[in-house]
Symmetry: C2
Subunit: 354 residues, 2 copies
């Protein structure tokens, strides 16, 4: 009888303690606890009973050691506040829990070394799979570690990561916005977006330039502003854009954060929207429809994206562990959709068009 470990709260009750208490062998207890086919019903009952009485809690680590299959799934995101990632987190948490997995979350803020640390930790914990929004330039070691794991890339895609991906078709989204504005008569359309080092940033920029050309509009480099996905950046940039002597009559914002910053600038400058300038945002946080006349924006099927990502991962690792063939080629790309509300209208100067 070992009785000197009261200190705080211990959970040292093992399968052996239960066995000893019952005067049976610990392997019988193991079988009883795991509903092994050949187990006496009565034994099973008694085992469960005393296990509960003793406060027995299985040791997942020991189990993993034997079976090589953990119940952990890693999620690596640059940020959790952002709408797309918070929706993803919610969806993944639900789906993983339903499939019997636990979600280990890590937030990198796009710092490659933080990213590496987390990937390492996940590998050490023998996570069954990892869903990751890779940073723009992951470290070599990160790439190596990732290559020996089941991975699904979410939202962004990195060419050196040979794993399936799920993302929104950013190019089409931005294109649709630009085209819509061009059709309204706008000629000077500005684009504010992420740097092209992320796949998402590059694609969206491409969507802008392509659509401009397709609409027969000149691409003025001064109207293309790339920078950090931060509210302050958008606020400052939109403000200066509006002070240009050849100011744009419409602005397309490339992310939800940039949209917020842009709106802040517009509000601060008391700019009439859409009378003085038209605006198309990106993403659709719940308040976009409440602001002013309602913000016209590029909606993204957030839930569907997240669902696709987990499904892809779960399919590979199976509902209880047997990793099946990899399908690294899979690339799921979902279409965004233009949501027309009140911030887009023909430009003031173009009222006299046919």
């Amino acid at each position: 009888v070992k009785n000197r470990k009261r200190p705080a709260a211990v959970a040292n009750v093992t399968i052996k303690d239960v066995a000893e208490r019952l005067g049976i062998s610990h392997s019988t207890v193991s079988r009883a606890l795991n509903d092994h086919p050949y187990t006496n019903a009565e034994t099973k009952r008694r085992v469960n009973e005393t296990a509960a009485a003793l406060g027995y809690v299985a040791n997942a680590g020991a189990r993993t050691l034997r079976s090589a299959a953990s119940t952990l799934i890693g999620l690596i995101l640059p940020d959790v506040q952002n709408e797309i990632f918070s929706v993803a987190t919610k969806v993944l948490a639900n789906r993983c829990a339903n499939a019997g997995y636990q979600l280990v979350l890590s937030v990198t803020e796009d710092d490659p070394s933080v990213e590496l640390k987390h990937v390492e930790a996940f590998r050490q914990a023998r996570a069954m799979g990892i869903i990751i929004t890779p940073s723009p330039e992951p470290l070599e070691k990160t790439l190596a570690l990732l290559s020996s794991t089941v991975v699904v890339q979410f939202s962004r895609r990195h060419r050196q990561i040979n794993a399936p991906s799920v993302a929104a078709h950013g190019e089409r989204g931005i294109s649709a916005a630009v085209t819509h504005l061009a059709q309204l008569g706008h000629r000077r359309i500005a684009y504010l977006g992420m740097p092209a080092d992320r796949s998402t940033g590059a694609e969206r920029l491409l969507g802008y330039t392509r659509a401009m050309k397709l609409c027969g509009l000149a691409v003025d480099p001064g109207l293309i502003q790339l920078g950090p996905t931060r509210i302050e950046f958008a606020r400052a940039t939109v403000t200066s854009l509006l002070h240009l002597k050849q100011a744009p009559t419409a602005i397309v914002l490339g992310t939800a954060d940039l949209t917020q910053g842009g709106i802040e600038a517009l509000r601060a400058g008391e700019v009439a929207v859409p009378a003085a300038v038209s605006v198309v945002g990106f993403g659709d946080p719940s308040w976009f429809k409440l602001w002013g006349p309602g913000i016209s924006t590029i909606g993204v099927p957030l839930v569907e994206l997240a669902e696709a990502a987990v499904s892809l991962l779960l399919r590979q690792i199976g509902p209880h562990g047997e990793t099946s063939g990899s399908q690294s080629q899979t690339q799921i790309v979902l279409d965004p959709f233009l949501i027309l509300r009140g911030t887009t209208a023909p430009p003031a100067a173009a009222q006299r068009r046919p």
Copy 2:
């Protein structure tokens, strides 16, 4: 040479493999890897080298099995979308990572059985601690499991959970809002909030009734509306409140979600704010300052709350594992602050006051 495990991606390289390759004992490898004091520098170098070459990744489970100390911290939240919880998630993720822990996230949506499942999983994974926003009525078993772990209650507090807690002083927050409105001349002030089954709901409701009485105002039960923290509920309720023959001249919303619903109703009904009705919201998502004249609201020190919670937990489990004395009595309560913007003004009918 075992060479038949290419299937997908395995990480079966163990400390023994490294030892064998080097012709030394596995314990030497273990020491080298862990920077044990008495280790030959050259040996250490070679060990690290071949470990890297072989793609060795430590097995955290095995380590936990020996040392009884994992690197896991559990976070149990009813929701991640909500501002307070998303901020908490971000802060905790950062702080935990810095302290060398991994954050396992679970979302309960206040379902007690889901809550239990997650607590069980955390205990099985031998999580070093749990930060939880307990559901209104946790199951017995959940309580029992929790009592044998290091726990910090976040945002909500349950009387049967004997663990330190961190929360905002909801009563004071709501009181301040009501008092402010009363001082502006409002007499019919409505309150829309959470059910009183959660500590937060009960406190905020108390803040309302107390402040009303203190201001010498009659508490009209018809102006107190409690319900699910859902946008639709607030939308419907605010709409019906405004259709009352004795409609309120001011409304206090008890959560951020309810505030959004209320705003939606006001916008849909084209109600003049604050001319026809004053509004005070709860929380301060970034868009509150952008809507209309800016939403007056009860701000909560979100980051500080989250910081306090991790600090409390980390202090108990220590930066690397030695659980220290519990301090279950600790209750950190942080004060909210009234943010006055444009949605509050004297009631139309009271313009003629002194």
